[in-house]
């Protein structure tokens, strides 16, 4: 062995190769201190961009709080869904009337104790029922049954508040990720230079171990839900961006030409032709984003985001297998529910041209009502 690997330290003479290597390491390698630079950058940001950071924090906090509020007081959510649905399907007039009626009903809360109790101290099963109904509507009765059993188990493990916390973090950071990510994806699809610039950033965001995001998030925003949501949205954004870009680029040439030939402006082309036709791909991206957000939210409990991740963390810290497993099982249930329901929006529902049916379901409600 000694013949194959001579011990370098025992070598007396210094050859040209060694001196070159030494020079290289002194002048080129040692000055490169990526870690220091990053820390300097982070310090600089927290020193100089306080206003911006506060703004981001306020927006994200508002989003997370609003989501959690809607999930914790599901009657509000139900009302919101009804109003939005009616508005989309039947147009402004009936939508406004419905909204008004709901507001009046809620206003009764001021006078009626029962209504008030339902609004502010709702039984948790209202949301569970909503989820089960959603599962039956979007996927099927068998899935609805599964959802009912899964939610019952979560109740029995007494993890409902944690589940809600996790769910609201997932929903809030997914929404934020989509608000930021979809426009980026659209920009990428329209400009090759943008695509070239954004793609490596996305690669970095996706391959960087997710724990790494926790450090700057904690430095900038302290501990708690907001840094958790921000780390989550960064980690979860890439698939939505990628699949939006891909979906728009995959719209057939003749469809785009048809739009142009009939005199679409670039904006009309995007909203009337490209986005509707790219919808299945975009939906797949949204599904991926939601799933990544769920996995990240669990990790984010390390900086105090709470929720089911917190339960798992407690299990680890105290070496309580039971607690850890319960938390993990709830995450799995939540993952299955979120995945199947969000996927159903990007999947065939009926026989025939599934693609057309999907697009129709998504876009045609209003026009049908008008016609």
């Amino acid at each position: 062995m000694t013949q194959d690997e001579p011990d370098i330290q025992d070598h007396e003479t210094v050859g040209p190769v060694e001196s070159l290597a030494e020079w290289f390491s002194e002048t080129v390698l040692e000055p490169i201190t990526i870690g220091d630079w990053i820390e300097d950058g982070v310090d600089w940001i927290s020193d100089n961009l306080e206003g911006l950071l506060d703004g981001i924090e306020a927006v994200i906090r508002a989003l997370v709080d609003a989501t959690e509020f809607l999930l914790l007081y599901p009657l509000w959510l139900t009302a919101f869904l009804i109003a939005a649905g009616v508005w989309m399907r039947f147009g402004h007039k009936i939508g406004a009337i419905t909204t008004g009626a709901l507001l009046v009903a809620f206003g009764l809360g001021v006078f009626s104790e029962t209504v008030q109790a339902l609004l502010w101290f709702p039984p948790p099963w209202v949301l569970a029922v909503l989820i089960v109904l959603g599962g039956i509507w979007r996927v099927g009765w068998r899935f609805g049954l599964f959802a009912a059993v899964a939610l019952l188990l979560i109740f029995s493990m007494e993890l409902w508040p944690e589940t809600i916390r996790t769910l609201s973090l997932v929903v809030a950071s997914s929404i934020a990720a989509l608000i930021i990510g979809l426009p980026i994806g659209i920009a990428m699809s329209r400009n090759d230079t943008v695509e070239m610039l954004v793609r490596p950033v996305l690669d970095l965001m996706q391959t960087m171990p997710p724990f790494v995001y926790l450090i700057p998030a904690a430095i900038f925003f302290g501990l708690g839900t907001v840094p958790g949501a921000i780390a989550t949205l960064i980690f979860a954004m890439p698939p939505a961006v990628r699949l939006t870009n891909l979906g728009i680029r995959q719209v057939s040439r003749e469809h785009v030409e048809a739009g142009q030939a009939f005199g679409c402006t670039p904006r009309q082309l995007l909203f009337k032709i490209q986005l509707p036709l790219a919808l299945p791909s975009i939906m797949a991206g949204i599904n991926q984003t939601i799933m990544l957000a769920l996995s990240m939210v669990v990790i984010a409990s390390m900086i105090g985001a709470g929720g089911l991740g917190g339960t798992v963390l407690t299990g680890i810290q105290r070496l309580q297998v039971g607690v850890g497993f319960e938390g993990g099982l709830a995450v799995v249930f939540l993952a299955i529910l979120l995945d199947r329901i969000s996927q159903s929006f990007g999947q065939r529902r009926r026989e025939g041209n599934a693609y057309g049916n999907l697009l129709r379901w998504f876009f045609s409600g209003r026009q049908k009502a008008d016609a």
Binding site: A258, F262, G263, C264, F363, A371
Partner: protein
């Protein structure tokens, strides 16, 4: 007829640094040499022609001959590299984005090979795409789109979805969408190529019927010669990006510019191309005027096949006489042979073949009673043989 669309020295070169390729082209290099030198592909080369108002102008060529590129330059879906394109006298290569969008909304529309309908919209919503993007209000959109759908016979399917219709019906929707904006120019890119032959013929008839009701300028791209012959008033044939010949179907069949053009017609059904009037011969038989000669004198003037044509003073066809019929006849009128078949000049040649075969005498071709010429079985056979040389 005035010129609707004028193409002047139009070039399209794909790839980097197209102007370098243009220079090489001026030096006389061909498509392959330019590709080898610069990596540029020549799409269209030095095209100059004009399309008349109201005609169906077919651009024909094999795939890769530049015909689709050509038609996309007409509405600038593809930007020309050099040259000019005038629509109603306006140079569209100089138009701004805004003007171009207006032109597309007002004057031109397009029908696509793959239909390019939106699967999530109903038939009527699809048909009103052009109106929708131009900002018409809903009621007006519905009204005009429905009119267009009724024009192509799809009024009853207005609320179906494209995937519920057959291919032919889907392309009718494509056609209705193009007609709904009431354009003066219709660009049709291999519009019927994806349809099966029977439906294709039906759609060609539909197009011709629509042209009769209201004639638009139609630019029709096709690789199918039979189609081009059927619907085209004039045909331009493209080869390797160049327009090698322009003319009426008859002109091109009877006088192909080169072997490439000729090869298109190899095996083509010429009997569909020519009408009886195109091939009738005026001088094949001697012409006699009624009351001019008597039966005996007429016998002296008979042609090689022993027949002559009898006309009245207004050059209207009266009948056919032969040596035998003249023998016993008192005068020319009495010598007329019974059962002579007359054919209108506009009849397709394919429709007279059977009648010529069944008759012992040459067919007589007339136009509104006026004598045009005669058609013997030999004439017909020679015409059929012409493209097989």
């Amino acid at each position: 007829m005035s010129d609707k669309l004028v193409v002047e020295d139009l070039y399209k070169i794909f790839g980097p640094r197209p102007h370098r390729a243009l220079e090489l082209m001026e030096q006389g290099l061909d498509k392959d040499a330019i590709f080898a030198r610069t990596g540029n592909t020549v799409g269209v080369r030095e095209a100059s022609f004009s399309i008349r108002e109201g005609e169906v102008f077919v651009i024909m060529g094999l795939s890769g001959s530049g015909k689709s590129t050509m038609v996309r330059m007409f509405n600038r879906l593809i930007e020309p590299t050099a040259g000019h394109l005038y629509v109603n006298g306006e140079d569209i290569t100089r138009m701004s984005r805004r003007q171009l969008i207006d032109l597309r909304r007002r004057d031109m529309s397009m029908v696509f090979q793959s239909f390019a309908l939106l699967p999530h919209k109903t038939v009527i919503e699809n048909a009103s795409l052009g109106l929708d993007v131009s900002g018409f209000d809903r009621a007006r959109q519905q009204e005009r789109a429905l009119q267009a759908l009724e024009a192509v016979g799809l009024g009853a399917h207005a609320n179906s979805y494209p995937d519920e219709l057959s291919g032919g019906m889907q392309q009718r929707v494509g056609l209705a969408r193009a007609l709904a904006t009431d354009p003066t120019i219709l660009l049709m890119d291999e519009a019927f190529s994806a349809l099966d032959p029977l439906i294709r013929t039906e759609m060609q008839d539909e197009l011709m019927r629509l042209q009769e009701q209201r004639s638009r300028t139609v630019v029709f791209i096709s690789h199918d010669l039979d189609e081009a012959m059927r619907i085209g008033d004039r045909i331009a044939i493209m080869q390797g990006g160049q327009v090698v010949q322009i003319g009426t179907p008859q002109e091109i069949v009877s006088n192909p510019a080169n072997d490439y053009v000729r090869s298109f017609f190899y095996g083509v059904d010429v009997s569909q191309v020519y009408s009886a009037g195109d091939i009738a011969r005026h001088d094949a038989m001697p012409l006699l005027q009624t009351g001019q000669a008597d039966a005996a004198g007429a016998r002296q003037q008979l042609g090689a096949d022993g027949c002559a044509v009898l006309l009245d003073e207004g050059a209207r066809f009266r009948g056919l006489v032969s040596a035998r019929s003249l023998t016993d006849a008192a005068d020319l009128d009495a010598a007329r042979i019974d059962g002579i078949d007359t054919v209108e000049a506009s009849t397709a040649m394919s429709d007279v073949l059977g009648r010529a075969a069944a008759s012992d005498w040459p067919l007589v071709v007339v136009e509104d009673g006026r004598f045009i010429g005669t058609l013997s079985q030999r004439d017909l056979l020679q015409t059929l043989d012409r493209t097989h040389q």
